[in-house]
């Protein structure tokens, strides 16, 4: 049944919150697949259910209909060690050092101490924070915290990393740098990444595939394979190719919004 090579397979997924007349449809008939090692972004207007979708993929909440297959088997609960999440806020534990924050999930997964220390060390090196291992989160900048959070995800050696607007709270400059950092890390580790963002530029700059979601109830309204060569550079952001792709996504999103607005006017 499962397509070969697909690490994540989503089949006509739907999610409704509540029941009866007060029910709210958050997601509707969502289907897509993500291949092993792919970097896939999901963009869409705020409140369209992107985070809900991510939580269903992670096994944190149950879908109302349809199913999610991770490496061919159906997701019913979180898969620690196989799926790691990087949240919008770094969600570091403030009383632990950067190093201890990275080893914390491994402790929960009963990884032996020497292994978890070696892993934490090498992952902090990978994200360029080896010198900050002993620092507490409040001694780190926003970008550094998020890098610790990425190291924490990677240390669990998952197949998939789900990222929920991880750079959303950072300033523009840091955000671009973090994007490039992430690409470098991804290139070294070749994890499958599912990346949620508001920024069309960020999505195109980072991804192999961009999924575009509509307003609530969220549906996948476009799937765009990004043809830009790798390694990606900042200059590509100014290219005609990049601009065209960006415009296409923009039109898809705004077309949905205009239609929704028009429908709203008819109703009222």
């Amino acid at each position: 049944m499962a397509s070969p090579g697909a690490v994540i397979e989503v089949r006509s997924l739907g999610k409704t919150f509540g029941d009866g007349p007060g029910a709210v449809a958050a997601l509707e008939d969502i289907s897509f697949t993500i291949e092993k090692g792919q970097f896939v972004s999901l963009v869409g207007p705020s409140g369209c259910g992107k985070s809900t979708l991510l939580q269903i993929l992670a096994g944190l909440i149950a879908a109302s209909s349809g199913e999610v297959l991770i490496e061919g088997s159906r997701v019913t609960a979180p898969l620690p060690g196989r799926i790691a999440i990087v949240f919008q806020d770094a969600t570091l534990l403030p009383w632990k050092t950067a190093f201890e924050n990275v080893t914390f999930p491994l402790e929960a997964q009963r990884v032996p101490k020497p292994t978890r220390q070696a892993k934490a060390q090498s992952m902090l090196e990978l994200v360029g924070l080896a010198d900050f291992a002993g620092k507490f989160p409040h001694q780190l900048s926003g970008g550094m915290k998020q890098r610790v959070s990425i190291a924490r995800g990677l240390a669990q050696d998952p197949t998939i990393i789900l990222m929920d607007e991880p750079f959303g709270a950072l300033d523009e400059q840091t955000r671009l740098k973090m994007g490039q950092e992430l690409l470098r890390i991804w290139d070294r580790t070749r994890k499958t990444i599912f990346f949620i963002t508001h920024s069309l530029t960020e999505a195109l700059y980072l991804s192999d595939v961009v999924l575009v979601m509509s307003r609530r109830p969220g549906r996948i309204v476009d799937r765009l394979a990004v043809e830009l060569k790798r390694p990606r550079t900042y200059d590509m952001i100014g290219s005609a190719e990049f601009g065209q792709a960006r415009n296409r996504i923009w039109r898809t999103i705004t077309a949905g919004e205009d239609a929704a607005a028009a429908a709203g006017m008819v109703e009222s």
Binding site: L60, P80, I85, F87, D89, T91, L93, P94, A108, Q139
Partner: protein, 252 residues
């Protein structure tokens, strides 16, 4: 450091001197005020009995603290994470906390007797409420992303509560513990004063009835020491677990 200590000692000496002078000069009657030297004499005459009472009171406080902290923290954590339970029980707890708990004491005495048990029960009950309410509120205000993080890395429900939520909610939890513990000390001494057979509160009432003002002041002094002991322990706990919060505040 030493200069500050010296200044403090000087201030204390001046206050004690004034206090002694006011009594010696006969400005205030012996029934109303006992001088430091009279308190010292009272200590010499019945010090051993008072120390025994001190032990009884401190013991009751210790047991009440263990009960109130344990039950308060656990109940607060569970109510804080179970939205439905909190919605039902939260307002009930707040309104129970709002009524003067001392009105329950006669009942507790009928149920548990005049001895230490009823004091411990009353004190633990009065300390329980602020602890549970502060823990509950502290936990509810936490970012839900932390719960998702905990679940995604495979933490059990209990591990999420005790290894993630409780430490995160610590500032609020600690203020609950501080208020609760103060209420426990008050609760023990007040109920001892109402009706009992031992403890500092009992001795204060007993000697007040005899107009032994020196002994009464000694009792007050001892209850002050109780509060000091408890506060010292509490700030130890705070320093141990709350260091990162302080440094966080300093660097902002």
């Amino acid at each position: 450091m030493t200069a500050r200590l010296a200044r403090r000692l000087l201030v204390a000496a001046v206050i004690l001197g004034l206090w002694e002078f006011v009594r010696r000069a006969g400005l205030v009657s012996a029934v109303i005020l006992a001088s430091p030297s009279e308190i010292y004499l009272a200590f010499l005459s019945s010090g051993s009995e008072f120390l025994l009472a001190f032990r009884v009171t401190l013991g009751e406080i210790a047991v009440a603290i263990v009960i109130a902290w344990t039950l308060g923290l656990i109940a607060g954590l569970f109510l804080g994470t179970a939205a439905y339970a909190a919605a039902v029980i939260g307002p009930l707890l707040s309104s129970l906390f709002a009524i003067p708990l001392i009105t329950w004491y006669p009942l507790l005495m009928i149920w548990l007797g005049i001895g230490s048990t009823s004091k411990i029960a009353y004190a633990a009950l009065s300390g329980f409420f602020p602890i549970v309410l502060n823990t509950l509120n502290g936990v509810r205000q936490l970012d839900r992303q932390y719960v998702r993080f905990g679940r995604s890395i495979g933490c059990s429900h209990l591990a999420i509560l005790f290894k993630i939520m409780l430490p995160l909610a610590l500032p609020s939890v600690l203020s609950g513990l501080r208020i609760g513990t103060a209420l426990i000390v008050i609760g023990v001494i007040v109920t001892e004063m109402l009706a009992s057979v031992g403890g500092i509160g009992f001795w204060i009432t007993y000697h007040r009835n005899l107009y032994d003002t020196g002994q009464v002041y000694l009792g007050i002094l001892l209850s002050l020491i109780c509060v000091l002991v408890v506060n010292l322990t509490l700030s130890r706990v705070e320093r141990r677990f709350g260091a990162w919060r302080e440094s966080e505040a300093l660097e902002r």
